[in-house]
């Protein structure tokens, strides 16, 4: 019998093997949200070419749900247009992860906020 874990299989997979984790050279935009003081912090890097997110990377300080949400978000937005990415909500991240415990929904909100912050950064840089 497989050992039981507190999260869905998808969450555990993204936590154990996070996709797109790491730094990015010359990112088009960076989104910083959270604070170690609140127990979680996420940094999202985007490479944007011709209005399309061609690459996304993240670094996250946080619990399993926070790391998995970050990883899932980067997977979802790669290849999206900026408009498409803007419409991504935390619920979509939660659904893609196969659900999160109620008390951990805020981790997916952090991922959405990081994306919004990165978009804002991109707008500011390209005024």
């Amino acid at each position: 019998m497989d050992k039981p874990f507190p999260y869905s299989e998808t969450v555990m997979d993204h936590f154990a093997n996070p996709r797109n984790m790491g730094d990015m050279e010359d990112p088009s935009a960076v989104g910083n949200v959270g604070n170690p003081a609140c127990g979680d912090m996420m940094r999202l890097f985007l490479k944007i070419e011709n209005g399309i997110i061609v690459d996304a990377k993240f670094k996250t300080f946080g619990c399993g749900a926070a790391i998995a949400s970050s990883s899932m978000l980067t997977e979802m937005i790669k290849g999206m247009t900026l408009d498409e990415a803007m419409s991504i909500s935390n619920e979509e991240v939660v659904n893609a992860l196969g659900g999160l415990p109620e008390a951990k929904i805020h981790c997916s909100v952090m991922a959405e906020e990081a994306l919004k912050a990165a978009m804002e950064d991109y707008k500011n840089k390209n005024r």
Partner: protein, 404 residues
């Protein structure tokens, strides 16, 4: 990501029952026993005998007389009975406890503060109660003082004999919750000067759902339940005969090799502490380095969050616990219920770091190999989380700037 390893370092939360305990419970359940209160027929008398025998064995573990023990449903009930039951019978007393007590002690303040004088003592950064502050509180206010023998989260053991001296010098009564310490160290209520002592079955290789309260003969206690005459009327309700028998057997099984396990676990725990100190970057240990439970190592790591480390440990077959804000209570209904540990806050772990602590608590079944395994996997898991941490990146960048 699954692993066959099963390295259990969460003995502070529960222990696995000793095989002798399992056999005893099985035997008792299979023996056609009556209700111990049915003193006339043989099935009832036989059940009473099982309870009496267990009472002798539990009493022997703490150096007490059998008639001073009251069986309860566990430590929480024993703690409530000890404090609220004592104050019900002795309303002229006050209530004093430390700010790192278990909620079953600390939260009694809520119901008591309208009727008695209550005080909460701050502990120092090691989790120790300062004798002078206790003396000051008790000077003009005889109280029942409740201080756990050892803290489960940070492992610190109070200087109980010194505390007991202060209590008796000031006409006060000492209750100690021994849930975390029992099963790991020898306990003698007379030598330690403890008036009321709480024991929990499942923390000493016995079953859950049973505990005991030692009550010194000189202490008057009132019941906090309405019911029959069981346990001298102090804890009414039909006795949990198999559970009580199991707890008795657990205490019997502790005898003999208690000292050798204590020494073995103390050495292995100290060794693990030293090893992690050298191999884990940004590690901060919690609790007192010497006055602590054998085989107990607790710490937090800057720049990483406790739950992620617990999960990685579990994926690698190591089961530990945490006082982290975000980890202990995944069944919480919302974020607000993910409270940071009151114990960590009390010993001054900066709340602005909130990274959560890890408690590795060994028991008599842990082998040297278990300790070595933790030593070999833990540093790598911390490094894995550091590479993911933006907080670590910021720290390194700042360091580069400062170092020039």
């Amino acid at each position: 990501m699954q692993t066959e390893k099963f390295v259990y370092f969460d003995n502070i939360n529960t222990t696995f029952p000793d095989p002798r305990v399992v056999r005893k419970i099985d035997e008792v359940l299979n023996f056609r026993l009556g209700n111990p209160s049915a003193h006339i027929h043989s099935a009832g008398i036989a059940a009473g005998k099982v309870v009496d025998e267990a009472r002798e064995k539990v009493a022997a573990y703490i150096g007490a007389a059998p008639e001073t023990l009251i069986f309860t449903s566990g430590a929480t009930e024993a703690n409530n009975l000890a404090i609220t039951g004592f104050l019900k019978a002795n309303p002229e007393f006050g209530f004093v406890c430390s700010n790192i007590e278990h909620f079953s002690v600390l939260n009694q303040i809520r119901s008591l503060r309208n009727s008695v004088k209550t005080s909460i003592l701050d502990v120092d950064s090691y989790g120790l109660v300062e004798p002078d502050s206790l003396e000051k509180v008790l000077k003009n206010n005889r109280s029942i003082v409740s201080l756990s023998l050892a803290n489960p989260e940070i492992g610190t053991m109070q200087d109980i004999e010194k505390i007991s001296e202060i209590c008796s010098r000031n006409g006060s009564i000492l209750h100690s919750d021994a849930t975390a310490a029992a099963g790991l160290i020898e306990i003698d209520v007379n030598k330690m000067g403890i008036d009321l002592l709480t024991l929990s079955g499942h923390n000493i290789y016995g079953p859950a759902g049973v505990g005991a309260l030692y009550v010194n003969k000189k202490i008057r206690l009132a019941s906090i339940f309405e019911g029959g005459n069981q346990e001298s009327g102090i804890r009414p309700g039909t006795e949990n005969v198999p559970g009580i028998a199991g707890m008795g057997e657990a205490c019997e099984a502790l005898k003999g090799d208690m000292k050798s396990h204590e020494k073995r676990l103390r050495d292995l725990g100290n060794d693990l502490w030293k090893s992690l100190q050298e191999s884990v970057r940004f590690v901060n240990f919690t609790g007192h380095p010497e006055k602590r439970l054998p085989g107990h190592v607790s710490f937090w790591v800057e720049h990483i969050e406790g739950e992620s480390l617990l999960l990685l440990l579990s994926m690698n077959g190591v089961m530990a616990s945490s006082g982290s804000a975000c980890s202990s209570n995944l069944k919480a209904k919302d974020e607000d219920e993910l409270m940071a540990s009151h114990v960590l806050a009390a010993v001054g772990v900066p709340s602005d770091i909130c990274s959560g602590s890890i408690t590795l608590s060994a028991g008599r079944y842990n082998t040297e190999e278990d300790f070595n395994y933790v030593k070999s996997v833990l540093p790598g898991l911390v490094e894995k989380l550091l590479t993911m941490s933006p907080s670590y990146d910021d720290y390194m960048k700042n360091k580069e700037t400062t170092d020039g």
